[in-house]
Structure formats: structure tokens, C-alpha cells
Amino acid sequence: MAIDISQFSEMFFEETEELLADLERLLLTVDIDAPDIEDINGIFRIAHSIKGGAATFGFSDLIEITHVLESMLDKIRHGEDVFTADHQEVLLQSRDVLKMQLDGLRYNSPVDVDKAVDIKAVLLSMIDKQALEPAPQVLKAEVNLVPEVQEISKFSKQFIIELPEVSARDLESLIEELSLLGDLTHKQEEGKCVILDLATDEGVDDILALCSFVLDPNLVKVVEKSAGQPTQVVEPPKAAPTISDDDDSFGFFDDPEPVVEKPVVVAQAEPIPVPTPPIPPVAAKKPAPKVEAAAVNTDATSIRVSVEKVDQLINLVGELVITHAMILKRAEGMDDVLYETLLNGITQLGQNSRDLQETAMSMRMMPIDVVFSRFPRMVRELATKLGKQINLVTQGNNIELDKGLIERIIDPLTHLVRNSIDHGIETTDIRLQKGKSELGRLTLSATHQGGHVLIEVSDDGAGLNRERILKKAQSEGIAIRDGMTDDEVWQLIFAPGFSTAETVTDLSGRGVGMDVVKRNINSLGGVVNIKSVVGVGTVTSVSLPLTLAIMDGMSVKIGEETYILPLNYVLESFQPSEANLKEINGTSSLIFVRDRYLPIIPLHEVFDIEARHKEPTSGILVVIASDDKRAALLVDELVGQQQIVVKNIESNFRKINNISGATIMGDGKVSLIIDVSDLLNSQYTRIPL
């Protein structure tokens, strides 16, 4: 029977990925001056586990480095070497190489072989090469490690036969005779005694009778095995490859004999000694003090499901919600009394499908820690490079976000953290001059806020310099005016091409990016804000929706078409009066709302469809806002608000201007979702002067 071990590879990859993340976390938290032995053990165990798995599943690349790491760490954990910052650094580098190798194996991503060779050389130089045992070889599936295949014993009884000293000729004939009774194995010879294993259906008497042909049956000891444990004989394993005894990859100890022996016949005068197992010490050596380890326990009660399956489920549940809405619409106007049970059933169905939807959505949620855990390493490295001392604190690591959002928030957040380290927190000298603690503080936090998650990156650095930002904006040709509020000034940072860093570093780049950060966050339906006080610090907050798959929408009608506006962009809607309208160049219209002129975007023009109302005064204006931009959309009619399940168009068709997706309405018709940021950045908001 061949078992294909490649089927376990994916699990090994996932596990190794997690182990490498743990490794990094441990390495970054370990106290160099007084490393906790539990931390060192943990680090050792990770190297050990990866090596063991890699050897089993046949990934020899990963063995090379983990093997040397293991040797190095083993010495440290046994007190033969002292853990230093050098170890920490080289371990971190090794982790990166292992990650690269792992990704190479898993995703066929490029692997820099030189890097692996280099790090191995460094590692080897750190340990006594003589002490290094040869690395284990990977298993090769095609090699048959089972030298002989024997039929499993079909006999009901197992005996151990102990013979006194006999001549070789007698033994041979005895073995020949006994073989006729069943399966006989010549087990071992202890001194002059011969011990045979016999599996047979015959009884003790038969064995003794046979032996009596050759020798005195009173000198033969026959012991039946496992008679008291019938369950273990009832169902023998199906496949029974055997193993040769000269193989040293496994073995059995003899003295703590685990075999349950039941003496059946004692043909000797003295009693047979019944083997007694040693009484082992009771207490565990280690009390298992680490708290983190307890969290691992959840693993046993969770299963791994592919994201595709979850998405499929969410999609189907979405359809169910829509189907319910359709039934509900059909049932409108039905007689309450006549159809009471049916209508109650529909209500119940609605409740259940919403609960189901919520549960399905929660399956896509991941803790934000997945993102946060990337930062300790980055902060450490940047801080070291820049000669700053930074203490990173993360809060709300358990707050959950949709997987899709998690993946897409990493880059913007990385940028914000880099900015804080590079431009925010001052160097140690300057901090001391300013009377601040030399240890800068950088906090990453996540909190729930209504239907949103608020992620904040805050530092106790220099804060934003209002004058410098204004000066820079002016020189870059970005529009500024007198009496701008601080908030308005901070928003200038998000303008394309803006940078105030006097020295361009390779860390935060050249100031390009904050506009990209903002755009990326906006595309996730999020908002980014800055609060800053000179000399005290800066807080950049990112507010994100919990999920991208469901949103609250306002449905609006233009002619025969229904469009969805994401509700979080909608400020207000009203029917304008003639007096508040202003025409520019005879083509574009502006509307005066709350002390501000807003461009009017006629949606029927944008989508090139027939509308009932082409004049603002007869239609309805919906004010939308994103970032600092606002506009009024001209529509025929407001239909209502509802939760919608977002369906991606791009993945099935292509990107359509001003449309972010589609949804299926209660009546089964498809409605397009308007891309508000797209629209606000379109030509319709540019006023020809």
C-alpha cells in the first residue's frame, strides 16, 4: 500500500508559514540581555519542527538552514553558548531566507539561492562545525523502505515459547514442527534459552505435545499473549507491511516490557516471574508556564476551509437573501388573515437568512493582528537604521476585518508607519534636547466604531509643521489660501507629489505615496484623517468598513434604471429651488448648498440614458462626499435604502467608469453601484471657467 505524502504538503506549508511568523515574533520580543529559556526553547522548537516536517515531506532546501539553526540553538539552550544580538540578527535573516524558500516551494516564486548559501555560511561560522551532525535525508517516495511484505497472522492466539538449551538439530526440527501449527518467528536467544513467537489456532497442550517429541515438556515454558484483551485481536490492521529487525530507524526497549502476558501453563517447578513495569515518576518536569501556548488549543476545534468555498457560501446566502426579498415583494398586498401562516413564514425566512448571512460573512473575518504582527520587525529595522529608539505598542489586535480588506490595508498602513518612524519620531538626541523620553512611542490600534473599524497610527514625535507644509504646498503649486484650518493644512499632505522631508531617505521614499495611501484607502470605502500637534505627535486614523461584500445602499432611479449609491457617501438629498442654481458658461450648473457651491452631475448624461427630469429644479439632487470633494447628483427619484450584496463586475467583465460593482435587487433585476470617488474625480466636477 502506498500513501502519497504529497497530499500533506499544503498543511505543511501553512504550518511552516505560521511557525516562521512565530519565530519572528519570538525573536523580536526576546530579551537579549536576559533571554528567557522558554523563548529560546520556543525558537529551537520552531527550527526543529520545520526541519522535521521538511524531512518528512521531502523539502530538502528547508532542511539545510534549519538543521544548522537547530544545532546553534541547541547549544544556546544547553548553556554552551550565549544568545547575543548577533544571533538575533542572523536568526531573523535566516527566517527571511526560509520564508523565501517556502514561498518558492509553495508558489514557485523566485528563490535567491546565493542568499541561502550565504546565510548558511554565516550560521556555520557561528557554531563549531565539528559538532554538526549530518543533516537528515528527505524521504524519497519511490524508495521502498519495507524490505519484505508478510501476510498478517490470521490466527487467533499468540504464544511465546521459551525453550531450554537445545542442540541446533533439535531446534531445527522443533521449529519445523511448530511451523505446521501456524506462523512461527524465531524471536531471540537469551543466553542458552531460545524464545519463539507462535501465532496459531491450536492450544497450549498441542504445542507442548509437539515439543515432547524432542525434549522434556516440563522444561518448556509456553505463555499466551494478549488473551485478556480480545479487542486487540478482533480487528487486525488491514495492511501489514513488515519491517526488518536490523533497521535502526526504529526499535523497542526490552525491559519495560509492555506486553501483557498471561501465564497459561507452568510446567516448571518455580513460578514464572511476571514482568512488572517500572513505576515512573509522577510529576511533570515543567509546569508549562507560557500563556501563549494555551491559545494554540483552539486549533483542535477549528477546521481549515478554502476562501473560495467561503466566498461561494457567501454568494449563495446573498442569493437566498435576494430570493427572500423577491418572495416578500410578491406577497405584498396579500390578505393578512387569509395568508397569515404564509406571511409569518416569509418573515421568519427573512430573519433566518439575515442571520445566516451574518454568520457566513463572519467566516471571512480575520483578526487585524495578521497585519499588526508584520510591524515589530519593520519598526525595529527602521529604527536601527535611523538611530532612533522606538517602542511599538499594538492595541485591539483581535478586532476582525474582512480578509479582502486585511490584504489591501497592509500597504497603506505600512506607509503610514514608515512615515511616523521616518518623519514623526525624532532621533534620540533631539528627543533628549526637547526633554522627551529618548524612547519614542509608536502605537497601532484598532477599535470598533459603529459599522466601521478605526485603525490609528499614532506617534509622540515632532508633529506636523504647519508652516513648512504650507510653504511646500506653495512651491509645488498646490492651491492654498489664507486662514486654512489645521485640518485643511494636514489634508495638503495627501496631494500628489507632496513631500516635506528635507532629507530624502530610502525609507519613506520621496514623499510620493500619501496620495496613493489615501486613494487606496478610499477605494476600500475607507477614510483617512490626520490630527497633529507640533512637538506632541501625530495621529493618522483610517476608518474602514467591516466588509466589502455587503453595504448599505441608497437606490435611486433615473428613467427606467435603478442605481445604487453607497450610503456612507450620501450626505443629503433635496429638491433645489431655482434661486440656488447658478449656470457657468451656459453648460455646467452649480448648486448653492450650505454656504458652498457644488457642481451638479446629471447622472443621465454620465450613463447616457433617458431621464424623466433633465432640469435640476424638477428632479432630485443627492449630495455625495468623499474626502474633501462634494457634488450633487441629479436623479429622477429616490427609491429607498437597503443592504445590498456587492457583486464584482471586474472579475467577470471589465472595469466600467463610474461603476464599482453590481447587485441583484429584490425584484430580481440587476442594479449597478455607482463609484462615488470615480465620479467625484471625473470631468463633471471640473468647472470650466
Binding site: 500500500m1 500513501i3 505524502i5 500533506f8 498543511m11 501553512e14 526553547n41 529551537f44 522548537r45 526543529h48 519542527s49 526541519k51 522535521g52 516536517g53 518528512t56 515531506f57 537528515p136 524521504l139 517516495a141 523502505l145 519495507v146 498478517i152 497472522s153 499468540q158 499473549k225 494478549s226 484483551q229 479487542t231 486487540q232 480487528e235 487486525p236 490492521p237 488491514k238 495492511a239 501489514a240 507491511p241 513488515t242 519491517i243 535502526d248 530507524s249 526504529f250 526499535g251 523497542f252 526497549f253 519495560p256 509492555p258 506486553v259 501483557v260 513495569p277 517500572p278 513505576i279 515512573p280 509522577v282 511533570a284 518536569k285 515543567k286 508549562a288 501556548a293 488549543n297 483542535a300
Partner: protein, 122 residues
């Protein structure tokens, strides 16, 4: 059906052990470290125990010592799955009360063969 307790902190290795032994007709329960293994062993009496050595919270040797102290496990075959099988480790295993050892990496067939051997003995 013969029941086996498989203790290993590596999920993938555990998965392989479980799959292999199940395909050979054993019933297998998993545990992720010594502490978990000891708990499982107290909930249900297993016919065979396989344990990794290096695990968080409680290592294999300690688990074996603890199991041997339980009346139900005084004679149960307990195998150590270990990457090192030097004399020192063997001596430790023997002292703790292990029945035998199997060196990692091993392939599924070998695991089955070794388990068959101890299961049939008992």
C-alpha cells in the same frame, strides 16, 4: 478497533500519522502536545500511544512518565517519534518507560509496520 493516540505539535505530521494509521484500520485521536495528550489519555484508554519528543508545554518523555504512572497505561505500548535516536535519547526513553522509538523522518508504511508490531504484541 485498535485505538491509537498520536501526540505531535506539528499539524502536518499529525495529519500524516492520522491518515496513515486510519488507512491501516486504526482509530486515531490526535493531541497537540504532552499536556493535551495526557488529557486525552485520561478521557479514553488507548491501545497504543505515539508521541513526539520535542513539544511545547510538556515534552514526550514527560508525557510517557506521566502515562506510565496511570494504572491504565502501565503496559500500553508507547512509541517515541523522534529525530534523534542516539544512545542518550534511547536511555532517556527507556528510563521514561517508552516501548520503542521510530526515527523521523519516516514514511507512512514504516509507521504502520511499527505500530502493527506493537499492537499485535499487546
Amino acid at each position: 478497533m485498535i485505538t491509537v493516540l498520536a501526540v505531535d505539535d506539528s499539524r502536518s505530521l499529525r495529519q500524516m500519522v492520522v491518515f496513515s494509521l486510519k488507512s491501516a484500520g486504526y482509530q486515531v485521536v490526535e493531541a497537540e502536545d504532552g499536556v493535551d495528550g495526557l488529557e486525552q489519555a485520561q478521557k479514553q484508554v488507548f491501545d497504543v500511544v505515539l508521541t513526539d519528543q520535542n513539544m511545547p508545554r510538556m515534552d514526550g518523555l514527560t508525557l510517557i512518565e506521566n502515562l506510565r504512572a496511570l494504572p491504565a497505561y502501565m503496559k500500553t505500548p508507547i512509541l517515541m517519534l523522534t529525530t534523534e535516536a542516539g544512545d542518550e535519547m534511547k536511555a532517556k526513553g527507556r528510563a521514561a518507560g517508552a516501548t520503542g522509538w521510530l526515527v523521523k523522518p519516516f514514511d507512512p508504511e514504516r509507521l504502520i509496520a511499527v505500530v502493527n508490531k506493537v499492537a499485535n504484541k499487546s
